[in-house]
């Protein structure tokens, strides 16, 4: 028996896989001009990570009161909010603040009604042209998947929201209506600084510093991008532990089988 030798084989296999991974991650998009966002501590990070539900709820409040005037979240439905701890009546209440067009009714007419939990988040603009017309030609992106649609993830969202600089560096010539933010590609962003110190009154009383708000919004968008994350990690531990035990049993079975050869 030579466990060392066998281990070295396993290590070699892992090393080849690892090198392949390194080659794979070489493909991160180089965005030369944008400043690299600093890594933050997130409650959802790592294999044991969990959502910070209170922060996500504040982020939702911030989205509703600030962001949703311009940014859609077309993958979310009001019913999804029940997984944030809102009960059925609260979800109905949130949904009913919005109007959706439904129909046609029995007369063939379209009609407006309050949104229901089964409706998707109501869009701020009916189409891209309307959004551009209201935003100085810029199109505010949908936020549903933002947290995993850029290499920086939630770190990028936090950095962008806290990274606005009032006076751009001297060598930067801002275009009409643009704002300076070194974390955005090219440094110029059409969105004005969206968060203000105490710009919102959190219903749970948390002091609304800009950093706190940015963190809450990032937490909310991370949840929106991967609402299945907690389920995934919980099941993942069961699966991986089961497979490790199975591997050990199969290894024992294999050794016993091969022992017959001599």
């Amino acid at each position: 028996m030579d466990i060392g030798k066998k281990l070295s084989h396993v290590v070699a296999i892992a090393a080849v896989a690892g090198l392949t991974l390194v080659a794979g991650t070489g493909s991160v998009i180089a965005s030369g001009e944008a400043k690299h966002p600093e890594a933050q501590d997130w409650s959802f990070a790592g294999p044991f990570g969990k959502f910070d539900v209170a922060s996500i709820q504040r982020g939702l409040q911030n989205y509703i009161e600030n962001c949703s005037a311009c940014h859609s979240m077309n993958q979310l439905a009001y019913r999804n909010l029940s997984s944030l701890g809102f009960n059925e009546d609260e979800v109905k209440e949130i949904a009913s603040q919005y109007e959706v067009t439904d129909g046609p009714d029995d007369n063939g007419d379209m009609f407006d009604r309050p949104a229901r939990p089964s409706d998707k988040f109501v869009l701020p603009f009916p189409n891209e042209q309307a959004a551009r017309a209201s935003n100085n030609g810029a199109f505010p992106p949908d936020l549903s998947l933002l947290a995993k649609a850029n290499p920086g993830g939630p770190d990028y969202i936090f950095a962008l929201l806290t990274g606005f600089v009032e006076e751009p560096p001297e060598d930067v010539e801002l275009a009409e209506g643009m704002n300076y933010n070194p974390f955005f590609g090219g440094g110029q962003i059409a969105m004005a600084p969206p968060l203000f110190e105490d710009g919102i009154e959190y219903s749970d009383g948390t002091p609304a510093t800009i950093e706190q708000q940015a963190r809450d919004v990032a937490n909310f968008l991370q949840w929106a991008a991967e609402p299945e994350m907690e389920d995934r990690k919980r099941i993942g531990w069961k699966v991986v532990l089961f497979l490790l035990v199975l591997s050990a049993l199969l290894y024992a079975a294999k050794r016993q089988t091969w022992a017959r050869l001599h």
């Binding site: 066998k6 080659a23 497979l243 091969w258």
Partner: protein, 438 residues
């Protein structure tokens, strides 16, 4: 009735009844039960079983994903997100399928390098190897078309870049591209046909895998010593010895796979593909999935005209050539000795080739004009691409034939059983040790 073959194992009446009419049980017993395999496989021989598992996993997850997916440019992106959010365990299906592609390629690349190291392509296994390369080509086509289906930004733009390569063909290039697209841009008809072909090709792969396995069972497996079994003392029945060994290796593999699926499911993916496809906005950089990066680097390495061949056509020829050259490896390698264990010079060049492929993968992920190191002006990724591409072809087209002529190989052991069971003196004695009581 005496003409009927009797199943060799004990079976129920029903088994015997079926077997005397359609000898499936006899076949299984012969090809997977008693099938004599060299007794000295190491763990690199596990990847055949691992790849079979991955193929089945991809087909099963794919079939269930197809039940929920909508191949239309207006609905594809949302239908994938619906799978992720509203379909029960849809996220699990999709993450298994997406990461399954990556693990499938890791396994197939290890399997191919295993074959190169131990000379598994040599007489009499040339056809077996060729079927393997056909499977690789089919896998690449399938993976490429599958990546288009979620209809994110890189789906659309990756498809545009790769299909546009065919426009490099003189005279008919543009017509071919229009024909591939089914229109004048990558659009709904392209997405529809890619979905159709992405569903079809895996079953073609199953067919070629069958040929691969049949060819394997005619010639028998190669082994780490690269010498033929000389008698029963050199082989052991596939079952239970290699079924047990394969099961263990497969379980380890699935554990690694599960760790990625559950804890880092977007590790291999490009974030940009979570942005809905938009024909009016070109992404900052268009990169293929990681498993295509070495070939992408070769494509971009040819940035100069050669005689009447312009750079674009040259790049396409080099890229396809880098795969096609694998078909003729059995004839490029003139050495009579199979295993690199007894080829002291080839062994070194083998590992250099592995590093070269990793280098090409690294290069493929960076813009050609980007500096490799901050502060070193002269060295750009395109320079590394030139070097890596030149070495790749040099290895196969020049080194392999020359080594066969000039390399002084080590003496081969007289049999597989000798170093395993007795003669500790042999050169292979130490190397074959893991088998002893493995």
């Amino acid at each position: 009735m005496s003409a009927h073959t009797q199943p060799s194992g004990t079976g129920s009446g029903l088994v015997k009844w079926i077997d005397s009419r359609l000898p499936v049980f006899t076949y299984l017993q012969k090809e997977y039960g008693e099938f004599p395999a060299p007794r000295n496989f190491n763990y690199w021989w596990n990847f055949g079983a691992i790849l079979s598992f991955m193929l089945v996993l991809m087909i099963f997850t794919g079939i269930f994903l197809a039940m929920q997916y909508t191949p239309h440019v207006d609905f594809a992106f949302d239908s994938v997100e619906r799978i992720m959010r509203d379909v029960n365990y849809g996220w699990l299906l999709r993450y298994m399928h997406a990461n399954g592609a990556s693990f499938f390629f890791i396994a197939v690349y290890i399997h191919i390098f295993r074959g190169l190291y131990y000379g598994s392509y040599k007489n009499p296994r040339e056809l077996l190897w060729i079927f393997g390369v056909v499977i690789l080509v089919l896998m690449m086509a399938t993976a490429f078309m599958g990546y288009v289906l979620p209809w994110g930004q890189l789906s659309l733009w990756g498809a545009t870049v790769i299909t546009s390569l065919f426009s490099a063909i003189p005279l008919v290039g543009d017509s071919i591209v229009t024909w591939l697209w089914g229109g004048f841009a990558v659009d709904n008809s392209t997405l529809n046909r890619f979905f159709s072909l992405h569903f079809l090709l895996p079953f073609v792969i199953v067919g070629v895998v069958a040929l691969h396995v049949i060819a394997l069972h005619v010639t028998g497996s190669n082994n780490p010593l690269g010498i033929d079994p000389k008698g029963p003392q050199d082989t052991i029945p596939f079952h239970p010895y290699y079924t047990a060994k394969d099961s263990f290796g497969l379980a380890i593999w699935i554990t690694l796979f599960a760790a990625v699926v559950f804890f880092a499911p977007n590790f291999f993916g490009e974030p940009e593909n979570y942005v809905r496809a938009n024909p009016l906005v070109t992404p900052a950089e268009i990169v293929p999935e990681w498993y295509f990066l070495p070939f992408f680097a070769i494509l971009r390495a040819v940035n100069f005209d050669v005689l009447f061949i312009d750079a674009k056509l040259g790049g396409v020829i080099a890229m396809f050539g880098s795969i096609l050259v694998l078909f003729v490896v059995p004839w490029l390698d003139r050495s009579k000795v199979r295993s690199a264990r007894f080829r002291p010079v080839y062994k070194w060049f083998f590992w250099i080739l592995v590093l070269d492929c990793l280098l090409l993968g690294f290069v493929g992920g960076h813009p050609p004009d980007e500096k490799v190191f901050e502060g070193i002006e002269g060295l750009k990724f395109i320079n590394l691409g030139h070097l890596g591409t030149a070495w790749y072809f040099f290895h196969f087209l020049v080194l392999l034939p020359l080594l066969g002529m000039f390399e002084k190989t080590r003496p081969l052991p007289t049999s597989i059983a000798e170093p395993v069971l007795g003669g500790g003196q042999s050169a292979a004695g130490a190397a074959a040790k893991p088998m002893e009581k493995a």
